[in-house]
């Protein structure tokens, strides 16, 4: 149709190539890698949820484990207590994520920037406590084991892998489409010029609630995928630090929303702890350094490029 739309279409074709490669991977690499990659897909969705809030709301959350936990426990509880499979629990997780995103957005609708970040921090802190104290349903410290297959008869390891991949691709595609929608455009305007958005019929409060609802919903989908692909749901996956790691993943991928970008963020969140698992103390150090490194890179790179360009132009 138009140039930019073609660009977007082209980039979506470009992202089918990695999808094709990922779809073929289980036949090449071993089972433990298949499992790790499944987790990686799930975490990528979580990174996407955080980046979505940044891109469309201009806000930073350090509390998205609230939503991932919600989705994960929706799947875990339905599976272990009622034997309900993902077909029903994923929509429920989405619904819960969106509703609680809205429920959180309402009382915090007038908070911005740092104030909102601090409030989401409180949200993240409340999560482990809620999980542990609602142990009659969440299984407390021990957690829940998700074992009901999605498609009976297919090997469970493959199911866990492909569900993760499918969810990630679906969410990334939906978010890419959202960019073109009326709602997406008005949210982007509301982010940069709330007064202008107001003057064209988009209320700020509506914008905030919509962004939080969507981001919460994506976060819950991350949790749901995490529960199925990772097979266990336990409080250890939803600590305050995990919430920060999601943010780190988002910063590391430069708040990108494309499939490849969020995969980078998700891989970061998943692989660093695995690779450094032998020396646990290095994990926070490494995360901290990467976070700083990426932020400083984002700060200095444009300057360096500019000086380089100037030098080239002068020569």
């Amino acid at each position: 149709m138009t140039q930019r739309l073609q660009d977007i279409a082209a980039s979506s074709i470009a992202s089918w190539i990695p999808v094709a490669i990922l779809a073929a991977l289980p036949f090449i690499v071993g089972g433990s890698w298949t499992f790790t990659l499944g987790l990686c897909f799930a975490n990528s969705i979580g990174v996407l949820a955080v980046s979505f809030l940044v891109r469309y709301g201009g806000e930073v959350s350090i509390g998205h484990t609230f939503f991932t936990a919600l989705g994960a426990y929706a799947v875990g509880v339905l599976d272990t207590r009622f034997g309900v499979s993902l077909w029903a629990s994923v929509p429920l997780a989405l619904l819960l994520g969106v509703s609680l995103g809205i429920a959180f957005a309402w009382p915090s609708r007038n908070l911005h920037g740092i104030y909102l970040a601090v409030t989401t921090l409180a949200l993240a802190l409340a999560v482990p406590e809620m999980i542990n104290n609602l142990d009659w349903i969440t299984g407390g410290y021990e957690g829940l084991y998700v074992s009901t297959p999605l498609v009976p008869g297919v090997e469970m390891g493959l199911q866990r892998y492909y569900l993760g991949l499918a969810m990630l691709v679906a969410v990334a595609a939906a978010v890419a489409r959202f960019r073109l929608s009326r709602q997406g455009m008005t949210l982007l305007l509301a982010k940069t010029h709330p007064a202008a958005a107001d003057a064209f019929g988009t209320r700020r409060v509506w914008a905030r609630i919509a962004v939080m609802g969507i981001s919460g919903g994506i976060g819950a989908l991350c949790g749901a995928t995490l529960a199925f692909s990772g097979s266990t749901v336990s409080p250890g996956g939803f600590t305050f630090w995990q919430a920060i790691f999601l943010l780190v993943g988002s910063v590391v991928s430069f708040y990108g929303l494309s499939l490849v970008r969020v995969l980078i963020g998700g891989a970061f969140v998943t692989l660093v702890p695995q690779l450094l698992s032998a020396s646990g103390a290095w994990i926070p150090v490494f995360y901290g350094l990467s976070l700083l490194g990426m932020i400083l890179l984002g700060h200095y790179l444009p300057r360096i490029q500019k000086t380089l360009a100037r030098r080239k132009g002068g020569a």
Partner: protein
Amino acid sequence: MTFWDTLLYDLFPLIWSGMITGCLYALGALGLVMIFKCSKVVNFSHGNVAGLTAFLVYGLSSGVLLSLSWGAAVIVALLCAVAIAFLIYAIISPLVFESDLTSTIATLGFGLIAQGVTLLLFGADIVALDLPIPRFAFSVFGLLVTGYDLTVLAVAVVTIGALFIVIDYTKLGIAFRAISENPFAAEVCGLNLRSVHLFAWVTAAILGVIGALLIVPTTFLSVTTVATFMLQAFAAAVIGGFASLPGSLVGGILIGVLMNLFTFYVSPEFSSTFLLGIILLALNIFPNGVLQRVGGSRV
């Protein structure tokens, strides 16, 4: 038990001990607010850096690293805290002038590093770190007052008093107030933003060490103790309006008392959830304390 007895035996002691811990929350909150007031950065590394320095005091005085006296260990730890504050500010200062949110995220990175360094140096074990103060206790009107309580009160009063004197009367303190009011105008008048920011970071670091050393005896010292304690300080700062020094004092004491009452009368298990509730409630009831915007944004 009559109503009055309950009041006497439960409520008063709860309020008293809540006020004592509240003073400590206030010390933590003051550090956060100092930095926020002048540079609009929320220092998420506050708790972890203070925790690291508390561990340094432990390591230097217990023989793990060295066997200094307690006082010498505290001095070394304070120097380290100041050095770390310098280092952090040096790295993030180019960001501070660009985006307060980005620099705030950067402080999360420093928090992670401080936590990792603590783990690397001291491991994940729990240690005990007491204050060298005489142990005694007496009761006033049925209220049990310990030496620890009095120490905390005395130190808090002296520290906070000193802080307010510095801010009110020294040159740096006056510059700090001017820049907090209006950074642009103050800079035009020739005040150096960076030195004021550094003043705030260093003061905050010192307040953090004091707060950490005083809170540790009530529990024990682990990688997360001080960070958790600082979260209450966060809540205190938020309730106090985040940009007000007296506000954080009031907020600290309020949080201390409310948390004590909640854990005793309602449930000790949901204290963080309760904290979340308080923060949301406070932000909605007193949005102007937090949102400093007056008169709406310009278009």
